[in-house]
């Protein structure tokens, strides 16, 4: 009987450890950012010349979960009649062809270079490091009370001939 009981107990112990941690934290974080980015396309208007062809979102930096999430978004959503195209931007000069350039935090030092490449274009520059909305980016992700929020610099958006809806301004922390 003791033997039988032992067999039972070990089976139970094994089964109780079956629930494994899937490391989905980066995916969840990427999903939040993808939802934000899709919202930007609804509340910001690009000039007519930018409403043809694909709507290009460039990611400067390495984040496989974010690129995967954006591609997932691209497969089911559009910007008006434009299809999304998600590209990895390896050099700032490639930013020139993007509607949105998302500079990941590790690549924040390249912000100035990117701004130089897009100055005659209509691109929304999105960054992911505290303080960058005052240094040229249009929208910057920041963390407040464990929560992912955005700060928005209206001037940095409008100087690229983009129109930003007041709703988005109200839902953001405004930076001048």
């Amino acid at each position: 009987m003791k033997k039988l009981l032992l067999i039972f107990v070990s089976a139970i112990l094994l089964s109780s450890w079956v629930v494994v941690v899937p490391d989905q934290s980066e995916e969840a974080n990427a999903k939040i950012k993808a939802i934000y980015i899709y919202n930007f396309t609804k509340y910001i208007e690009w000039p007519a010349a930018y409403k043809e062809g694909n709507f290009v979102v460039g990611v400067l930096g390495t984040s496989a979960p974010l690129v995967a999430e954006l591609n997932k978004m691209a497969s089911s959503k559009t910007v008006g009649t434009q299809k999304f195209e998600i590209i990895s931007v390896s050099t700032p000069s490639e930013s020139a062809k993007c509607h949105i350039v998302f500079i990941l935090s590790d690549n924040s030092s390249q912000l100035a270079d990117v701004l130089g490449k897009v100055k005659s274009k209509s691109a929304l520059i999105v960054t992911d490091k505290s303080g960058l909305a005052t240094k040229g980016s249009g929208i910057n992700f920041f963390v407040d009370g464990n929560k992912q929020k955005i700060e928005l610099n209206r001037l940095n958006i409008e100087k690229y001939k983009l129109k930003v809806a007041s709703t988005l301004v109200e839902m953001s922390v405004q930076v001048k």
């Binding site: 009987m1 089976a11 934290s25 995916e27 974080n29 999903k31 939040i32 919202n39 464990n146 929560k147």
Partner: protein, 397 residues
């Protein structure tokens, strides 16, 4: 007058002796049939005997009854090997995206007297119709809109039968392996009841020893059956068997302390089953999430330092938070996204104390370090997240 009165009293006494002899002879007959392994006759006699008031308080009679039912249970258990189950995939590849296409069937033969319990888990798709044939005639047709198709053929089969189970009318259904089992018959319970009754009416040491030995044996079979039923289909059987096991275990060993570990292990195991059910259908089976949490809580109330319960409770909250975010649509506006974030942060925070406790109990467990790293990452506390990631890397080296 006095003579008549005496005659009546004598008559009553005589009747009592005759009845007493009658019930005693039934007990004797039952015992004889038991020795001859004629269990049906033994059962008939002992059941007839124990209805008498005299036998109600006869420990020996109840012991014999317990023994007869125990033997019936054992013979039933042995016969389960003759319950021949065969897996017969047919007509494969006729439906798209389907592991188990329309027309897929499963057949087996069942012996006379067997009870049937047929179940299938639908792991994909929302509806399935299953047709059960017994000896080529439709016995039952069941349409299910949930994740399970469960059919029970009530009572026991009156003849040997070929049973066939066919999936139809649904093109997007996949089945987890389908299987059959016999519902445990009542003989084991009757045996346990009888041994308990014998214990109660005859408190002699020898009687107690024999009854306890048999109760212990039968309770162990319940314990093991509970373990064998710990899956997403048979979990109710597991709970029932474990509850019965608990009831009788205390006759063998009244110490609650000795039973505690079994209670904790079972609570953890059933919680893991509930979690698997919930994971299979997060919207439809949301109740199982609460059940899983309640079961882990049961384990933690008994042992706050139980690593498994702490870890798994942490993971439940963690996964719930992650799912909340991952299930959100891209169309979600920023205000609604804020709400989702608030709710998920609350869940991440709820998972933290459990995961930290698991970590304090075993700082080198990889899963816990990974869990803490993930929770802190999700709470946007990147430094702490990296701290645990580095500890994880150290362990890996």
């Amino acid at each position: 007058m006095l003579k008549i009165k005496r005659t009546i009293i004598f008559g009553i006494l005589l009747l009592l002796v005759v009845v007493s002899n009658a019930q005693q002879s039934r007990v004797t007959a039952a015992y004889t049939f038991l020795q001859q392994n004629k269990l049906d006759s033994a059962k008939a006699n002992i059941d007839a005997a124990v209805v008498f008031p005299e036998t109600q308080v006869d420990g020996q009679a109840w012991y014999i009854r317990g023994f007869i039912y125990k033997e019936i249970y054992k013979s039933y258990s042995k016969s389960s090997s003759s319950f021949d189950v065969t897996y017969t995939p047919e007509n494969s590849g006729t439906a798209q995206n389907s592991n188990v296409p329309v027309g897929w069937s499963y057949s087996f033969s069942a012996k006379k007297g067997a009870s049937l319990y047929i179940s299938a888990q639908v792991t994909k798709g929302n509806m399935v119709t299953a047709i059960i044939y017994v000896n080529e005639k439709i016995y039952k047709k069941i349409t299910s809109t949930g994740n399970f198709v469960i059919a029970t053929v009530s009572g026991s089969l009156e003849m040997d039968a070929d049973v066939k189970y066919v999936v139809s009318e649904n093109e997007n259904t996949s089945f987890a392996p389908l299987y059959t089992r016999k519902e445990p018959n009542d003989a084991r319970l009757e045996a346990l009841l009888s041994f308990r009754k014998s214990l109660k009416v005859d408190t002699s040491a020898e009687n107690g020893r024999e009854n306890i030995k048999n109760i212990k044996y039968l309770a162990t079979t319940l314990y093991n059956d509970a373990a064998a039923s710990l899956d997403t289909i048979d979990f109710k059987i597991a709970i029932r068997d474990f509850d019965t096991f608990r009831e009788y275990y205390f006759l063998v060993d009244p110490s609650k302390e000795n039973f505690k570990q079994k209670e904790i292990d079972f609570a953890n195991a059933i919680a893991a089953v509930y979690t698997r059910i919930y994971d299979g259908d997060k919207k439809g089976k949301i109740d199982f999430l609460a059940l899983a949490k309640a079961s882990y809580n049961t384990a933690l109330e008994l042992d706050p330092n139980n690593i498994s319960a702490n870890y798994n409770m942490g993971i439940l909250y963690y996964n719930q938070a992650v799912n909340l975010i991952n299930q959100s649509d891209y169309d979600l506006d920023i205000v609604a996204l804020n709400d989702v974030q608030d709710n998920s942060i609350n869940l991440f925070k709820a998972s933290l104390p459990f995961m930290e406790k698991a970590y304090s109990l075993d700082p080198n467990k990889r899963e816990t370090l990974l869990g803490l790293s993930g929770i802190y990452f999700s709470l946007n506390e990147k430094e702490k997240s990296n701290e645990f990631k580095q500890k994880l890397e150290k362990i890996g080296k």
